[in-house]
C-alpha cells in the first residue's frame, strides 16, 4: 500500500510538471502577445512592455525562471492586469467557485444517486419513466439554457430567489441548481445501471434467503456494491466543478474562477493561464489520486497489484 502511494505521488508530480510545460509552450504558439489592445497598437510600445516583463528573453530562459517561481508556489503577476498576482486571484476567487461546486456536488450527487436507486427499484413503473426522462433532459439541455430559464422563471417571474450576485446563501441557490441539474442527471443514470447490474447477483438471493428486510438488503448489500464503480469518475468530476463554470458565473455574475480561465486565454495572459492550469492540474491529479485510495478502502477485493 505505501509503495503504491509513493509511486502514485511521484507520477502525479511528473504529470503536473508535464501539464505546466506543455501549456507553457503551447501558449507561445498563439500569435500576438498579452499587451496588444485597442489602445496599445504601436510596436515599440509593445516591445518596451515585453522587456519590462522579461518576455524578450529567449523562451527557455523564461521557462526556467517560471519553473523556479512555480516550485516556490509563486505563480507570478498577471500580464494584462498589472499588480494583480495570480496567487491573489486564485486565493480570492477559488473559495467562491469551490463553495458553489461543493454545494452543487453535495446536493447533486446524493439526490442523483437516490433517484437512480428509486428508479432502479421501481423499475418499469411510472416513477422509473419520470426519473429516466428527467435524467436524460438534465443531460441534454446545455447549461446556459438551464441557467437562463431558472433565472427567468424562479428569479424574475416568481421572485423566489435573487437573480444574481453573490451576497448571501439565497443568492447561491439558482447557480447551484443549474450546476446540480447535470450532476443529478448523470448520477441518476449511472446509479440506475449499476443497481440493475447488482440486482442479478447471487448474494442478494442469499441475503433474502436469510430473511433480511428489503430495505436492509438494498442499503447494506445492493448499494454498497453498486456504488463502487461510481467512485472512479468522482475525482475528475469534483476537480472540474470546483474550478467554477464560465457559463454559470457569467449569467449569475459570480466572482468565481471560471471566467478567468476563458478571459485569460482570450487575452493571452500567459502567467494567469499557466497559474490557473497548474492549479487545476494539481487539483485534478491529486483528486484522482485520492479517489484511487478511496477505491481501495471501499472495495476490499482491489489489492494494489
Amino acid at each position: 500500500m505505501r509503495r503504491y502511494i509513493v509511486r502514485r505521488f511521484f507520477i502525479s508530480v511528473v504529470t503536473v510538471w508535464t501539464i505546466a510545460t506543455v501549456c507553457f509552450f503551447l501558449l507561445r504558439l498563439l500569435p500576438g502577445n498579452p499587451f496588444l489592445s485597442t489602445t496599445i497598437m504601436k510596436q515599440d510600445m509593445v516591445d518596451k512592455m515585453m522587456r519590462y516583463y522579461g518576455l524578450d528573453k529567449p523562451l527557455w530562459q523564461q521557462y526556467i525562471t517560471y519553473m523556479g517561481n512555480l516550485l516556490r508556489g509563486d505563480f507570478g503577476y498577471s500580464l494584462k492586469y498589472a499588480g494583480r498576482s495570480v496567487n491573489y486571484v486564485i486565493k480570492s476567487t477559488f473559495p467562491t467557485s469551490a463553495q458553489l461546486g461543493m454545494q452543487a456536488l453535495f446536493f447533486g450527487i446524493p439526490t442523483g444517486t437516490l433517484l437512480g436507486i428509486i428508479s432502479a427499484k421501481r423499475r418499469g413503473k411510472e416513477l422509473d419513466y419520470a426519473f429516466n426522462a428527467l435524467s436524460v433532459i438534465g443531460i441534454s439541455v446545455p447549461s446556459f439554457i438551464i441557467a437562463a430559464l431558472l433565472q427567468y422563471i424562479l428569479g424574475l417571474k416568481l421572485g423566489w430567489f435573487p437573480v444574481a450576485q453573490w451576497k448571501s446563501f439565497s443568492h447561491t441557490i439558482l447557480p447551484t441548481l443549474t450546476l446540480s441539474f447535470g450532476i443529478i442527471a448523470s448520477h441518476c443514470r449511472s446509479m440506475r445501471t449499476l443497481m440493475l447490474e447488482v440486482d442479478q447477483q447471487d448474494y442478494l438471493k442469499t441475503a433474502r434467503a436469510k430473511g433480511l428486510g428489503e430495505t436492509r438488503i438494498v442499503f447494506f448489500h445492493q448499494i454498497r456494491n453498486a456504488i463502487i464503480p461510481m467512485i472512479t469518475g468522482l475525482g475528475t468530476e469534483i476537480a472540474g466543478l470546483l474550478m467554477g463554470s464560465y457559463v454559470v458565473e457569467k449569467i449569475f455574475s459570480i466572482p468565481g474562477m471560471g471566467s478567468y480561465f476563458v478571459t485569460s486565454i482570450q487575452g493571452l495572459d500567459y502567467t494567469m493561464v499557466l497559474g490557473l492550469v497548474v492549479f487545476q492540474g494539481t487539483f485534478v491529479v491529486f483528486a484522482n489520486f485520492l479517489v484511487d485510495i478511496l477505491y481501495v478502502i471501499v472495495d476490499p477485493r482491489i489489492r494494489i497489484s
Binding site: G32, M45, Y77, A82, R84, L242, G267
Partner: protein, 580 residues
C-alpha cells in the same frame, strides 16, 4: 495496514469538510458590509464608518448616504502601467489631481495657479497644501515623478509615446529612448510647492490644465510589481479611499476626510461599484432597486429601461480599414482603389445598420465625431464644417457607379472575378453581427459574393493587423478629445497610419501632412479649425478608411439620484446626492 487506511479515510473526510467550511464564508465578507436590500434609507453597514485609516481629526457626523452602481472592473490601479480609461475612472476617485475636470471643464485642485511664458513653452504651477490619507504632504516632486515614471524606459509604461506626442515635453523622447537622464527632461519640481513644465514647442491645444496625479517614488519602489493590485497597494489622496475590492464582485469606497476639498464636494459618504459582466443581470438588479445606476445598458434592454436611460455619444470610432500594403499585388491594387472603397462605403445604410446591430451607437460618416468643440468654445466642429461625404443612409446608385468605375480601372469585367477578400474583426458579439450585416449588404446591393469573415480574439486580430496580414480590417480607434488628435493619427508616420513605426504608411498625402502640422502650431482657433476641416475633407476622399459607427453608451440613473454627470473617462460624482 489497517491504521494507514483509517488515516487516509480521515484525511479524505477532512479535505472534503475543509472544502465546504473554507468555502462557505466567501460571501460573508460581502454581506456584512453591504446593505442587502438597499431600500433601507441609510447604509446600515455594520462596518463602523469612521475607522478611516489613520485620519486623526474626528469626522463631523455627516448624513450617511450610499451610492451603488454597476461599473467596469479596472484592469489595474498601477498608474504607470495603466492604459485604458477604465482605470482612470477609479484614479479620479482615489487620487488628488493638479486640475480636476468636471462636466467638460478643468478646475484647479491641488494647483493654486499657474503662469505661462510668452513663447508658451514653460508652464509654472503653484501648489496648495494637500496631503495623502496617511498625513504626508503632497509635493511638486510627486507630480513630476508621475510624468517621469511614465516616460522612464525601464518602467515599461506603454503610454510614453502618447505623452510625447500629445505634450512633447523637452527631451522626453530622448529620455524615453534612453539617450539622456531624468534631469534633462522639461519636468522639474523647483521646490516643494512649484512645478515647472517645459515643452519643446508651443502646442495650440494645450491650455496648461494638466489632469495628472501625484505619485510617490518610494511607494512605487516599495510595492514593485504589486503596485495597484489590491486596496492596500494604492496611495489615497483623493475624495475616497478604496476599502475593499472583491475581484469580479464589488469595490467599496468610503469618503476620505483628508481630501483637499472634502467639505466642498463629493457629498456621498459610501460608494459601492458592483461588477457584473452580464447585461441581463445588471438590468434586473436595477429593476429590483439593488443598484442606483448602470454605467452601461446592453442594447437588448434599452426599451425595458426606456424611461431611465440617457445617451452619451462620445465613444470610440469604428471604421473599415483597407490594407493598401497587402502582400498580394492584385488585392493591394483593389484595396488601394478609391472607387472600390467608395463603392463599398456608399452601399451601406449606416442608419439602418446601427439601429439593428448597435442602437446605442450612431452612424459616422466623417472622421471627427459630434462632441468635439468647433470654432467657438461652445460650438460643435461638426456643425461648423460639413464635408461632402457619404450620406448616412447610403446611396446605392452612386455605389454602383463607383463599383463600375473601379472594375473598369482595375480591368475586371464583373464583380465575380475579384479575388476573395478576408474581413478580419474582433471576436465580440456586436462586431460579429456588424460584419455579417455589412457583408450581406455588399452581396445584396453590389453582388460582391466572395468575402469571408475571420473572427479572432483581440490580441491575434491586432497582431494580424500590425503585420499587414489582412485585407479588410474592422478597426476601432479612440475618438480623442480634440479633432487634432484624430487627424494626427493619419499623418505620415502617425500612430495609426504607420502602426509599427517601420516607415510603411497606409496613407501618404503631403497636403494633408502640411495642413495638420500647421494646425498644431496655429493658436488662432478659427484658423486652426478651418485647416483641420480641410484636412478631414482630404482624408475622407483619399484616406484608407471608411468611417462607419461612433460608439455611444446608454446609461441608466435612478430618479432619486441628483447631480449625476456621465463622463467616459472619470466617475464624476463631485456633486452627486442620493436621497432615497
Amino acid at each position: 495496514m489497517k491504521k494507514l487506511r483509517n488515516l487516509l479515510l480521515v484525511l479524505l473526510v477532512a479535505t472534503l469538510l475543509f472544502g465546504t467550511i473554507s468555502g462557505c464564508n466567501t460571501y460573508s465578507g460581502g454581506s456584512t458590509s453591504t446593505p442587502d436590500q438597499s431600500t433601507e434609507p441609510t447604509s446600515s453597514g455594520t462596518d463602523n464608518e469612521n475607522d478611516d485609516n489613520g485620519s486623526g481629526t474626528e469626522q463631523p457626523t455627516v448624513k450617511e448616504t450610499t451610492f451603488t452602481f454597476v461599473g467596469d472592473q479596472p484592469n489595474t490601479l498601477n498608474m504607470i502601467l495603466s492604459v485604458s480609461n477604465i482605470d482612470s475612472h477609479i484614479f479620479y476617485l482615489t487620487s488628488a489631481m493638479l486640475f480636476r475636470p468636471y462636466d467638460g471643464v478643468s478646475y484647479p485642485e491641488v494647483c493654486e495657479d499657474f503662469t505661462v511664458s510668452e513663447d508658451k513653452t514653460v508652464y509654472t504651477y503653484k501648489l496648495r497644501d494637500a496631503q495623502y490619507s496617511d498625513g504626508t504632504p503632497i509635493t511638486a516632486e510627486h507630480f513630476a515623478y508621475y510624468l517621469l515614471a511614465r516616460l522612464d524606459p525601464e518602467m515599461g509604461s506603454p503610454m510614453a509615446a502618447d505623452l510625447i506626442n500629445t505634450y512633447g515635453f523637452l527631451n522626453a523622447a530622448a529620455y524615453n529612448a534612453g539617450e539622456c537622464s531624468r534631469e534633462d527632461v522639461g519636468i522639474k519640481a523647483l521646490d516643494e510647492k512649484t512645478l515647472e513644465i517645459t515643452l519643446e514647442r508651443p502646442i495650440a491645444t494645450f491650455d496648461g490644465k494638466l489632469d495628472i496625479y501625484p505619485l510617490r517614488e518610494e511607494f512605487v519602489k516599495e510595492k514593485g510589481e504589486a503596485l495597484g493590485g489590491t486596496p492596500d497597494d494604492l496611495e489615497y489622496s483623493g475624495p475616497y479611499i478604496l476599502k475593499e475590492w472583491v475581484l469580479d464582485g464589488y469595490m467599496d469606497f468610503v469618503k476620505n476626510p483628508t481630501y483637499i476639498d472634502a467639505d466642498k464636494s463629493f457629498p456621498t459618504t459610501n460608494i459601492r461599484m458592483v461588477i457584473s459582466s452580464d447585461h441581463n443581470t445588471r438590468v434586473t438588479m436595477f429593476e429590483n432597486g439593488e443598484v442606483d445606476c448602470l454605467m452601461n445598458v446592453g442594447n437588448d434592454y434599452l426599451d425595458i429601461l426606456k424611461d431611465y436611460i440617457e445617451h452619451n455619444p462620445g465613444g470610440g470610432h469604428q471604421a473599415i480599414q483597407f490594407n493598401r500594403l497587402n502582400q498580394d499585388p492584385a488585392k493591394a491594387a483593389i484595396l488601394g482603389n478609391k472607387n472600390f472603397r467608395k463603392a463599398l462605403s456608399y452601399a451601406l445604410n449606416r442608419e439602418a445598420i446601427v439601429a439593428a446591430t448597435n442602437p446605442s451607437s450612431a452612424p459616422l460618416t466623417r472622421l471627427v465625431s459630434s462632441n468635439h468643440a468647433g470654432i467657438r468654445e461652445d460650438s460643435l466642429f461638426t456643425e461648423d464644417f460639413t464635408p461632402n461625404t457619404v450620406p448616412a443612409a447610403g446611396d446605392v446608385n452612386k455605389a454602383k457607379e463607383y463599383l463600375d468605375a473601379a472594375l473598369q480601372e482595375l480591368g475586371y469585367s464583373s464583380v465575380s472575378e475579384l479575388p476573395t477578400l478576408e474581413y478580419l474583426t474582433f471576436e465580440v458579439p456586436t462586431y460579429r453581427l456588424i460584419a455579417e450585416t455589412v457583408i450581406d449588404q455588399w452581396k445584396q446591393l453590389l453582388g460582391l459574393e466572395n468575402i469571408s469573415i475571420l473572427l479572432l480574439p483581440v490580441p491575434q486580430a491586432i497582431q494580424a493587423m500590425m503585420t499587414y496580414d489582412y485585407d479588410i480590417y474592422y478597426t476601432s480607434l479612440s475618438s480623442g478629445d480634440d479633432p487634432i488628435e484624430i487627424l494626427s493619427m493619419w499623418v505620415t508616420g502617425g500612430t495609426v497610419n504607420d502602426i509599427t513605426g517601420s516607415g510603411r504608411n497606409l496613407f501618404e498625402n503631403e497636403k494633408y501632412d502640411e495642413l495638420v502640422a500647421e494646425a498644431i502650431v496655429t493658436f488662432d482657433r478659427q484658423k486652426r479649425m478651418e485647416l483641420l476641416a480641410e484636412a478631414e475633407q482630404i482624408i475622407l476622399e483619399e484616406g484608407p478608411i471608411e468611417p462607419l459607427i461612433v460608439d455611444g453608451i446608454y446609461y441608466a440613473v435612478a430618479p432619486y439620484v441628483e447631480g449625476f454627470v456621465y463622463s467616459s473617462d472619470y466617475y464624476q460624482f463631485n456633486y452627486l446626492v442620493v436621497n432615497k
